[in-house]
Amino acid sequence: MFRNNYDGDTVTFSPTGRLFQVEYALEAIKQGSVTVGLRSKKYAVLVALKRNADELSSYQKKIIRCDEHLGLSLAGLAPDARVLSNYLRQQCNYSRMVFNRDLSVEKAGHMLSDKAQKNTQSYGGRPYGVGLLIIGYDRSGPHLLEFQPSGNTLELYGSAIGARSQGAKTYLERTLEKYLEIEDPEELIKLGVEALRQSLKDETLSNSNLSIAIVGENLPFTQYDGDSVAPYL
């Protein structure tokens, strides 16, 4: 069952200096359904594929709003994402109340990194089992971050995480020059949905399983679910 002796906890390095528990946590992301993020020079967009446990159940929420200017989508353990997004909401509120300031996306990323790192260096816990795509619009423009349970957070133009996300990622790499220049937010969403399609296998996108969010210049974080995603299908 165990690959080796060095993967039982987060406080043991393997002889090659790896942390298997952290690497396994990264695997948990791939168990989650796919989500795509991308940005232009004015807007940032999240697109996600929602899953339901069975026919009669509702669909698992994939996108969480944190503030007027900030939100995220998740792949992996949804409860972990709720912990992290609650933390971000608190930090956004704190920044608003104490400094009259929108939390910068860069700082939000660093805060998540530092929170996740703690779980990788001390005994008794586990790393977070969720990957996040964070989008936000602050004084320096739109941003997209990818957060990983290892505590790495990277700023990207486009990214995809979750099951079969490579398809979407390849598409985003290929169309990078195009979507960076997109002026119309609707167009950017459409390209995002197209990227998401590259990662589908048996699923077909519908009103019930597609989730979209956008934020940007003069556009607070807005979510589209259910019937409101119809125009983008």
Binding site: N100, R101, E106, H110, D138, S140
Partner: protein, 265 residues
């Protein structure tokens, strides 16, 4: 009932006799914090003009009526376009200086836009200070100061006041302490309504502030001749003038004043 707050929640003296502090080795008072400032700085005065704000404060630290220190800088620069003017207790002011220094440091941590988009703005500095002042008064342990935060933000003037009670307000002209009584009426002769701001240029504004510093030096016995003046201008940025001196005064009348000082009538 005994209405003295110091007796609330205590056994009644009628029933048990007076509480003996010496036996309990206790203070005659409940826990106490600052009750008065010690070394103080007097007024800070400020006003808006068409392209920015001006703020000034003298360099004196008074110990009661003793002019104890003559080189206290009470205008503190934070970032590139904010100046905080502080009157009241000087040691509390120095504590606030440390808070502002930490705020500035923290803003530079891992902030790739620290020099431009994500630099500190006067409204951030003010909101923080107002939160600190209110929190301290709510702990019944106030920082004994009145502060004015002056600056420019997104091309607009920023000028706002907060004091030891946590009270905040804004106005085209602002002053703390004695200045609120002596300087504000004079400042309002130039800028009374919001609409007067754009009719007032830097030259007029600076002249007005300088004139007010003179009046304050004449009439405020806790003021000094030497002062600092800061201009935060949309185009010119932050101009900080140290070691300014009140000039062109007339003191000839002084010898005729009777009833004060050491002279015999």
């Amino acid at each position: 009932m005994n209405h003295d707050p110091f007796h609330w929640g205590r056994p009644s003296d009628e029933q048990y006799g007076a509480y003996n502090n010496t036996i309990a080795n206790a203070s005659p008072y409940p826990k106490m914090n600052t009750q008065q400032p010690i070394v103080t700085g007097t007024s800070v005065i400020s006003m808006q003009y068409d392209n920015g704000v001006i703020i000034a404060a003298d360099n004196l630290g008074s110990y009661g009526s003793l002019l104890r220190f003559n080189d206290i800088e009470r205008l503190i620069c934070v970032g590139k376009n904010t100046v905080v003017g502080i009157s009241g207790d000087i040691s509390d002011m120095q504590h606030i200086e440390r808070l502002l220094d930490e705020m500035e440091m923290e803003n530079n941590y891992d902030n790739s836009c620290a020099d431009d988009e994500e630099s500190l703005r006067p409204s951030y500095v003010f909101e923080y200070l107002a939160a600190v002042m209110y929190q301290r008064r709510s702990k019944m342990n106030p920082l004994w100061n009145a502060l004015i935060v002056a600056g420019v933000e997104e091309g607009k003037q920023f000028l706002r006041y907060v004091n030891l009670l946590g009270v905040t307000y804004s106005s085209p002209t602002l002053a703390t302490g004695f200045g609120a009584h002596l300087a504000v009426p004079l400042l309002r002769r130039v800028v009374d309504h919001e609409s007067d701001i754009e009719k007032t240029n830097l030259e007029t504004a600076e002249k007005t502030i300088v004139e007010c510093m003179k009046v304050l030096y004449y009439r405020d016995a806790r003021s000094s001749r030497k002062y600092s003046l800061a201009i935060i201008d949309n185009d010119k940025g932050l101009i900080f003038k140290k070691n300014q001196e009140v000039s062109e005064m007339v003191w000839g009348f002084a010898k005729d004043i009777r009833g004060y000082g050491t002279q015999t009538v």
